[in-house]
């Protein structure tokens, strides 16, 4: 068992979580909690795979996945922004709906066999760096490299650009933004859409790159929910989100790979000889998510940092409050 190979695979797995988490950060920074991430990822994974099996073009699959997930997120946007419904329930129902659609349209896809995947390559020179090279820059899907570029860009965008300033204002104090002519409703729709697209991208990352194929609900296996949890751990900061996502990715891979070899570090591998213990291993990512939430929440209480102030509340012009 080569630890570097596990970590390398972990980075790829983490990229899924990264995209979903970043997308949810955008939506929540604009004040809209979207609990439909899991469903949107699923519909993204399904669309990407289906379009690729039909057309043979994974890039088209990727684009369609992002578009479809972005569009379906607008149902949540409409219900929670325009109709001012509870964001928790609305997001959950979007999740149900998106899951249902994915299962219906994905019927029979699991037998589709192999398809053309997105290109994989190494970055010259960088892949020669000891330890870091093979983990981060060797034989990765192009989506992984896009992830590297994306999270610092998101961080910079939110904190140091004009639209980022508007985004933060809309999530913290929409009335203030509205009074200065920022269109709160449009911004919220937009960032819910961005969140949906990113969830679609995350889904496509699964079905076109990391673990290609369609396995109905098991395709995402709760990663959308882990992403929602990571947003809280990341305290709505893309840099922390990246740290969390890659760590979780590595953990997931480790759990899969630890069951393979007969001997680890010179001792008999208990998970090899007792394959059923694997069920406890599979609990770990979920248990870790809870643990990470405990850590994140405690830190937030201590530092008195919190969610964007207007997160979860519909904005109604003329009504007092955030």
């Amino acid at each position: 068992m080569d630890i570097l190979i596990i970590l390398q695979a972990g980075v790829a797995t983490g990229t899924i979580l990264l995209f979903a988490t970043l997308g949810e950060i955008f939506a929540e920074r604009a004040g809209v909690l979207n609990l439909g991430v899991e469903g949107m990822m699923l519909i993204g994974a399904m669309s990407a795979f289906k379009i690729t099996t039909i057309t043979g073009n994974p890039w088209l699959g990727l684009l369609v996945a992002m578009a479809v997930a972005g569009l379906i997120s607008q149902i949540h946007a409409y219900i929670s922004i325009t109709l001012q419904a509870d964001q928790v329930v609305s997001g959950l129902s979007l999740g149900f709906l998106a899951t249902g659609i994915s299962l219906v349209l994905g019927e029979g896809l699991s037998k589709a066999g192999t398809i053309a995947y997105l290109p994989k390559f190494s970055i010259p020179l960088l892949d020669q760096v000891p330890v870091l090279g093979p983990v981060f820059f060797k034989d990765h899907s192009i989506l992984v490299y896009i992830g590297y570029l994306l999270f610092p860009l998101c961080w910079y965008y939110i904190n140091y650009t004009r639209p980022g300033l508007h985004l933060r204002a809309v999530g913290e104090y929409p009335a203030a933004a509205d009074a200065l002519g920022v269109n709160v409703y449009r911004m919220r729709y937009l960032y819910v859409f961005v969140g949906g697209m990113m969830a679609g991208l995350a889904g496509a990352t699964i079905s076109l790159a990391v673990s290609p194929g369609w396995f109905s609900e098991l395709t995402t296996a709760g990663q959308g929910w882990i992403a929602v949890g990571l947003v809280i751990f990341a305290q709505w900061n893309p840099l922390r989100a990246a740290f969390g996502a890659y760590t979780f990715g590595a953990l997931r891979r480790l759990i899969l790979d630890i069951q393979g070899p007969m001997v680890i570090l010179g001792i008999k591998n208990p998970f090899y000889y007792n394959p059923y213990w694997g069920y406890f291993l599979e609990m770990l990512p979920y248990a870790f998510t809870i643990l990470v939430l405990v850590i994140g929440s405690r830190e937030a209480i201590r530092k008195r940092m919190g969610a964007p102030a207007a997160l979860g509340t519909p904005y109604i012009r003329g009504e007092r409050g955030v």
């Binding site: 650009t161 300033l165 204002a169 104090y173 009074a179 200065l180 002519g181 008195r304």
Partner: protein
């Protein structure tokens, strides 16, 4: 009624026949209003008279149902605040429209076309500093809003509008949150802006200020103009008050002499933190006796809310003690205080005082639901609760179609009656009343005052926390002044000058020493 309908080239704003309906209310009933270049024009009226509605229309936040608006001789039809700002109109709201987690510069740049993409904060920090200097307002551009005092935040609001090139500034009750000294500073700034050719609309319900700062005044009552653009120097205070309220205002209250009894509330060197974890109370000492109303004066945000929270048990005490009827209740649960007879009229009626979607019955039993006859062991007796509620409804004239009505549908006055009914019905020994009349109309205010005085006569100890000095002086037997979490002193004779000085942080001893020095 004074009319100013003609085309005057000096008019920068002319609003005519403005009508605005809200469900159930006619907020503006064909209102006319004009603003001349270089004047400070006061818009006077009670709470709910329609001042803010009219100005929200001018600022582009609301769309009028009828009427026309002319700005700088041009018909305008604002669809958003952005349109109004483009026409040079900037509104400074009562609740500041500032994003607490962002810096001063970031708040000022919010919504601007430039910078186009990258914020380049350092460059703009300098611009903001320069603008502040031009109008004599000092402010640190890199400070986060939540770190600033209320007065500083107001300056940021003004700078925000000036930065946008606003020539017409609407100020919605700008003095409500300021200490007397800060009010003076604000007035200096306002005069400086007028001298630079800006025009200012000054919304207020305080007659003295209107007389002091403004050139002309328009008075609104129940959505109608009762005086349109009158020269301030041509009217007197009594007449303005009548125009505003519609009848002669009784400035005095019928207060009976009551001999104060035992100490009910004793607070000793109390320390507590605010929601941000910063010290809010730094050694407060005070006591309230049976049968007296004790006022707590101070500018908003000097620890009043935290003090009320700590006494009622809603907030943790860091150091010091709270004694109610001689028994320690420091850091005890809220329910313990309730059992000891503490009632609390909270500052925030909708977010703290009531459960908006629950019925009136459910709301009035909030403090008595676990006592017989409403509760019978584990069981909640619905019939008893309903009887209790209908008794209170009659006794306190709560006007509602049914007791099942959710309280979010009640008007401000009715809502406050629900709270008062509940808080008084549990026969309090100690009553903490925080801003009990804020946002109410004159009739409702009188009712609240009467109820508080009745409780005083019934032997309750009342701590009245208010920012309305007139109300404090009218009702209280004694007044403490709080500043930055410390009690500056206690005034028994209602000396307004002393209270004003203490509100800006001078201790009573210092004032008295100073006087002695002067005498010597």
């Amino acid at each position: 009624m004074v009319h100013s309908g003609s085309d005057n080239p000096n008019d920068v704003v002319r609003m005519a026949g403005i009508v605005k309906r809200f469900p159930g209310v006619l907020a503006n009933d064909s209102v006319d209003f004009t603003l001349r270049k270089g004047e400070i024009h006061a818009l006077l009226g009670e709470n709910g008279a329609g001042k803010s509605t009219l100005m929200n229309i001018l600022a582009g936040l609301y769309h009028p149902d009828a009427g026309s608006i002319v700005v700088n001789q041009q018909h305008v039809n604002f669809n958003s605040p952005r349109d109004a700002i483009a026409a040079g109109i900037g509104m400074i709201h009562q609740h500041f429209m500032l994003v607490p987690s962002q810096t001063v510069t970031e708040n000022i740049l919010l919504g601007m076309e430039k910078p186009r993409f990258l914020l380049r904060l350092q460059e703009y920090d300098r611009v903001v500093t320069g603008l502040g200097e031009q109008f004599g307002m000092k402010v640190d551009p890199r400070a986060k809003i939540w770190q600033l005092s209320v007065g500083e935040q107001q300056r940021v609001e003004i700078l925000k509008m000036l930065y946008r090139g606003a020539n017409i500034l609407i100020m919605d009750e700008p003095t409500a949150v300021l200490a007397p000294q800060e009010i003076e500073d604000l007035f200096v700034t306002l005069r400086k802006m007028v001298a630079e050719g800006k025009s200012i609309i000054f919304i207020s319900h305080k007659l003295n200020e209107v007389m002091e700062i403004s050139d002309r005044v328009t008075v609104l009552r129940r959505g109608k103009v009762t005086a349109g653009g009158v020269d301030v120097h041509s009217v007197d205070k009594v007449e303005l008050a009548r125009l505003m309220v519609g009848r002669d205002v009784i400035f005095s209250l019928n207060k009976k002499a009551v001999q104060p009894g035992d100490v009910v509330l004793k607070v000793q060197s109390l320390f507590a933190e605010n929601d941000k974890g910063l010290p809010a109370l730094r050694g407060v000492d005070l006591e309230v006796r049976q049968g007296e109303i004790v006022g707590l004066a101070g500018v908003a945000g000097n620890g009043q809310r935290e003090l009320a929270d700590v006494i009622t048990g809603l907030r943790k005490v860091k150091k010091g003690s709270v004694l109610i009827c001689g028994e320690e209740t420091t850091n005890q649960p809220v329910s313990k205080g309730i059992r000891k007879g503490v009632s609390h009229i909270p500052e925030d009626r909708t977010h703290v005082g009531t459960a908006p979607n629950l019925s009136i019955t459910d709301n009035v039993i909030m403090k008595t639901y676990n006592q017989p006859p409403i509760s019978n062991g584990w069981i909640l007796n619905a019939v008893a609760a309903e009887n209790f509620a209908s008794g209170l409804k009659d006794a306190y004239q709560i006007l509602v179609p049914s007791l099942e009505t959710p309280v979010r549908l009640l008007s401000g006055g009715n809502l406050q009656r629900v709270i008062l009914a509940r808080e008084i019905s549990c026969k309090p020994r100690l009553m903490i009343a925080v801003q009990p009349t804020r946002g109410l109309d004159v009739g409702a205010i009188e009712g609240v005052h009467r109820l508080l005085l009745e409780q005083r006569e019934a032997g309750a100890a009342i701590l009245l926390i208010s920012e309305e000095l007139e109300e404090l002086l009218g009702l209280s037997d004694r007044v403490y002044v709080i500043y930055e979490g410390r009690i500056m002193g206690e005034v028994k004779d209602g000396n307004l000058e002393k209270i004003g000085q203490m509100m800006t942080g001078t201790r009573l001893e210092q004032i008295e020493q100073h006087k002695e020095v002067e005498h010597a």
